[in-house]
Amino acid sequence: MEIEFTDTEFMICNAARLLEDNKTIFVGWGVPQVVAILAEKLYTPNIVQVFEFGAIGPQSRTPFLRGTMGGPSNTYRSLQWCSMNLAFSYAQVGYIDYGMLGAAQIDRYGNINSTMIGDDYSRPKVRFPGSGGGNEVASYCWKTIIVMAHEKRRFVERCDFITSPGHRMDGKTREEVGLPAETGPFRVITSKGMFGFDEETKELKLIGVLKGLTVDDVLDDMGIKPLVADEVVELSPPTPQELKTLREEIDPYGLIISKGAKFKVEL
């Protein structure tokens, strides 16, 4: 049997499998929302979503509606509606276990760029929306998961602009710059594989590749050479149940999941 799915579907499913039940997760707009809802439906029924605009523990309605960030659908039956200051305070004081972020660029230490491409801040080659709440997620949450399309140009030695912190910034550790101890990027999930960070050096380390791809397939598509784990695991493609849940329940209009290249794998 052959199974067909998009890059985004693979990333979403892979991320959803990473989460733990009975934990809090700081959720941004789009992919992270869909990840959290998929996880809630299939793997971690008691995961608690936290939104920066001030919603704690909603039982988000499906289908996912693009327009409802902060609206009735994705904040449905929350345990608390509150302020942004309070939502971030929960995270800053340590109550939020996971955070999930996208990135335009990532570097060897998991620093993220979502601000600009170029070397002149006042005249960027490409300007992105900036941090949003991303910096707080990356700074405060215990474990940050980064989800991004696997493209060569996105992996760089040093981000053009560090929007949100990784494990080392220009040689300094998180603790040295004052960030909360024992936090930082936990996994990077791309459309081709999954990375962790070396315990000691804190460098990006390939730990899994999508079934059907080789380690070299993944490495060839990167602007930097990451560490490679002694044992690189095979990452399962989306299961039929995951795809059914995504396509029929969560995102039937394909607002999120239809993005990215199509991929086929023999099951």
Partner: protein
């Protein structure tokens, strides 16, 4: 024991900073603690309280409970040289930049799409980067009457370098900690579900920074889906989001968040939203502004001639989750 705190880093941004005593005096002299009828037409409110060169803040998003009719009126009155706080924003900065109202943007989230990106790339608007959290802390400090808030975000990043924050060594724990200067906007525009004629205002759903923004701002315009009697507030004082004495003008604006939605009233108009997000060129932008803002005289005319009763009814129909919003 040292008699100083080490400053480890200074952000480079120009900051809009009002001395706490100057802001206090403004509050004393210009804010009215009397119960004064502040209900007025949107035209009058924007004319009186938004000035060229103002630092402008607003609350919540383009998608939900955003002050869209007030933003459109600011554009219609062709306000100039604004310095805008873009926190949790998608399209407000895009429209304001398209209309030439904006010089500078403090960025939590800049706004969406290639149009605003190009404005920055070309240097047509100057940006200072923060994050949604750090700009909110700036408002919290402004609302509390203190000169700064300490926080542990932006540390180690280029965002910090380009922000208005500084990093110091905390005298208690000895860790580096960021200090973000208070922000007291000249004017803020906020949309809520319910207000009375004095400015008491109630938000249902996530409150984002509604209260902090109102408390911290020199002038505050509230637009509301419904104007209710004051007794509604007195019967449930726990639900009051903003007290009247922070507020300068109250505008009755049904569908005030259109094309976004307001919880308990109507859903967003996805078609209109897509029309907006697909704007790429200057020509498309000017065409949009002409059609939907300049060529109509008021929010009411906009609703009637550019949206229409049929569409509004559909948006009301789409809003079927009322639990928690009443």
């Amino acid at each position: 024991m040292e008699d100083y705190i080490e400053i480890l880093q200074r952000g480079e941004a120009d900051i809009h900073f009002v001395h706490p005593d100057e802001f206090r005096k403004f509050v004393r002299d210009k804010k009215n603690r009397g119960l004064e009828d502040k209900l007025m037409d949107v035209k009058e409110a924007v004319k009186k309280y938004v000035k060229n060169g103002d630092y402008l803040a607003y609350d919540f998003s383009s998608l939900t409970r955003g002050p869209q009719s007030l933003i459109r009126e600011i554009i219609r009155q062709r306000k100039k040289n604004l310095w805008v706080l873009a926190k949790f924003t998608l399209l407000e900065t895009v429209l304001l930049a398209g209309a030439g109202c904006v010089d500078k943007i403090d960025v939590g989230f800049l706004g969406f799409g290639p149009y605003i990106a190009r404005k920055v790339q070309e240097g047509a608007v100057k940006v200072y980067d923060y994050s949604n959290g750090s700009v909110t802390y700036r408002l919290v400090a402004g609302a509390m009457g203190i000169p700064f808030m300490p926080a542990r975000d932006l540390l180690g990043t280029d965002t910090m370098k380009h922000s208005g924050g500084i990093v110091v060594r905390d005298p208690f724990s000895k860790i580096p900690v960021a200090l973000f200067p208070a922000l007291n906007p000249d004017v803020s525009v906020i949309h809520v579900q319910e207000a009375d004629i004095y400015g008491n205002a109630r938000v249902y759903g996530p409150t984002v920074a509604t209260l902090e923004t109102a408390m911290a701002s020199k002038r505050v315009i509230i637009s509301a889906e419904r104007i209710v009697e004051t007794i509604e507030f007195r019967e449930h004082p726990n639900w009051t989001t903003v007290p009247y004495y922070c507020v300068d003008a109250v505008v009755h604006a049904p569908f005030g968040a259109y094309p976004g939605g307001t919880q308990g009233y109507y859903e967003m108009d996805s078609d209109h939203y897509l029309k907006l997000t697909s704007i790429k060129t200057e020509e498309e932008m000017q065409k949009y502004l002409e059609e939907y803002i300049y060529s109509v005289d008021s929010h009411e005319e906009f609703l009637e001639k550019r949206v229409g009763v049929k569409r509004l009814r559909e948006l009301i129909q789409n809003s079927q989750i009322l639990e928690g919003y009443r």
